[in-house]
Amino acid sequence: MSTYIVRRIIGLIPVLLGVSIVVFLLMQLVPGDVAQALLGISARPEDVENLRRSLGLDRPIWVQYLSWLGMVLRGDLGISLQQRTEVLPFVMDRFQNTLILTVAATIVSLVIGLPAGVISATKQYSVFDRVSMLIALFSNSMPAFWLGLMAILIFSLKLHWFPTSGMWPVVGERTLPVLLSHLALPALTLGAASAAYTARITRSSMLEVIRQDYVRTARAKGLTERTVLARHTLANALLPILTVVSLQFGYLLGGAVLTETVFSWPGIGLALYNAISFRDYPLVQGAVLVVATSFVVVNLLTDLLYSFLDPRIRYS
């Protein structure tokens, strides 16, 4: 197991290097001169030239990349133009809030999606199955930003059940119930499409297992339906579900940009959105790098968990 873990971690290095190249090249895509873009159109030419030299933009591109990578590895992602602070501490601080939101959305996704998928599979072609799969299709077809706006309209503006935006009230205590009341709508919005996907995958994964011989054998042995379902069917169906849920986590990190913008949730997505409107390229770069890296790490953890649950994977 430990050699497998080491092998997988070493395998990450080229991917992370690739990610860093993509993030670096992204900023090379900015039309025109980066120094000019940073200083604005009204800047004096000599200031632009000085900044070019101090940023090292007059050097060959691969030299620029290597020196940038060196800084990144030392945890230096530059200074945010908008926040006037170092990018990394700022991004990590915001990232915590995004994690709270994505974990809550994942819980929403599992709590709704998993039982719905299991019941649909055990009662295939029943009314419950058809209705829940139709709901799944519908919520998969709904733009998250719109769902969020509708949630605000109905549950905040009309019914006053939840606050419209933010993570904490401007004044007042910062207690868990307060946090949860702010978290409810964004988490449901972000988790809805994911719940739909989880339900569909759970259903099809369960259906595949239900048809296996060992399930028929378990039934033939006279085990109760509950035991067959829990010990033989769900336990074996969980592996593909696990993969999908972890991939969904990355999807949620991306979707968080929209949900956070709609709900003004102070996470990395809202920071990215503001940074883009402000043309704060160091912050854009830092935010993208941190999200992509965390996605890669989550995928690694899933693979490791997967191989822990199913030893066959380690040896193939």
Binding site: F145, W146, L149, V288
Partner: protein
């Protein structure tokens, strides 16, 4: 679409299909007479009410997009300060007006153009490049395969929406850049899909036979390999279009896609945010439009998948 072979992609490798499906496939003449795969798919699709509803929605949207100048009651850009935020059912403006007094129905009808454009163009571009890369990587293997896999590993390390947002942020927010970004993000998915079908098709008898009979590689790749991988790609592309409608409108909603005042469902949703309490229809209606078209593509995509391989039915 001259598939020269009658090979069906139905593998039936697992358990036998349900009785209903067995009865249906027994009734299919495909088992006795050669019949192209596409006509089998069409025959199954015709019996799927949901898929037909989906196809109907798509055709209706296409019609609106093409016939917008004829169908729309007003100029979508014409502002009228005397009728700002008119509610649904106002005479002359059946779906009301927005904060600038523009007719929402007309803007929704014109908005179908950018909605389809920002979804169909990236899917088409990603499909073309993905097919080419997947065919080469899957058929020839070797370094081209390693290159594709590493390239897609790296792009898959980014959440799709985030990468698209980052690319547009760098290139500058325009409709063309948004389409380009979405296309780039979805190339690896198409390439990997094609690659995996090619890997299994490569060793099939009819491909081996065509190779043995001296068929030129290009012809073999297109007429034997691609022709048999295509239905899977079509299903995937249809489902992707449903998602791309949402991604595209999301980029526009964030101000990174279609730019105002061009009528677009994403930007329209954003326009209405400030007046949501007094004029909820301004934000609500464009979202419903996005939802309907996305449902249309998803229904058709699910139907196509079931028609292609009933064993995959979910």
């Amino acid at each position: 679409m001259g598939a020269t072979t009658t090979e069906s992609t139905n593998s039936h490798s697992g358990s036998p299909p349900p009785a209903k499906e067995r009865a249906r496939s027994a009734a299919l003449p495909a088992l006795v007479a050669p019949q192209s795969q596409l006509s089998i798919i069409w025959r199954r699709l015709r019996q799927d009410a949901f898929a037909l509803i989906g196809a109907g929605i798509i055709l209706f949207t296409l019609f609106l997009a093409v016939a917008a100048p004829v169908v729309a009651p007003h100029d979508p850009l014409q502002q009228d300060s005397s009728i700002r935020l008119a509610p649904i059912g106002t005479s002359g403006h059946p779906l009301g007006t927005d904060g600038n007094g523009r007719d929402i129905l007309s803007r929704l009808i014109y908005g179908s153009r950018t909605a389809l454009l920002i979804a169909l163009v990236p899917v088409a571009v990603a499909a073309v490049f993905g097919i080419a890369m997947g065919l080469v990587a899957g058929y020839f293997g070797g370094w081209s395969d390693s290159l594709l896999m590493r390239f897609s590993d790296i792009l898959f390390a980014f959440p799709a929406v985030l990468l698209a947002i980052a690319i547009v942020a760098a290139l500058g927010p325009t409709l063309v850049n948004a389409m380009l970004a979405l296309a780039i993000v979805f190339v690896p998915a198409f390439a990997r899909l094609v690659r995996s079908s090619v890997l299994s098709l490569r060793e099939r008898e009819f491909v081996v036979a065509a190779r043995a009979s001296g068929s030129p590689t290009g012809r073999l790749l297109i007429r034997h390999v691609l022709a048999n991988a295509l239905p899977t790609v079509i299903v995937f592309a249809t489902l992707q279009t449903g998602q791309m409608i949402i991604f595209g409108s999301a980029l526009s909603f964030l101000g990174l896609g279609v730019q105002p005042p061009t009528p677009d469902w994403g930007t329209m949703s954003n326009d209405g945010r400030q007046q949501m309490l007094i004029a909820p229809w301004v934000t609500t209606l464009p979202g419903i439009a996005i939802f309907c078209v996305s449902v249309g593509f998803n229904l058709l995509g699910d139907g196509l998948r079931d028609a292609l391989d009933p064993t995959l039915r979910t």
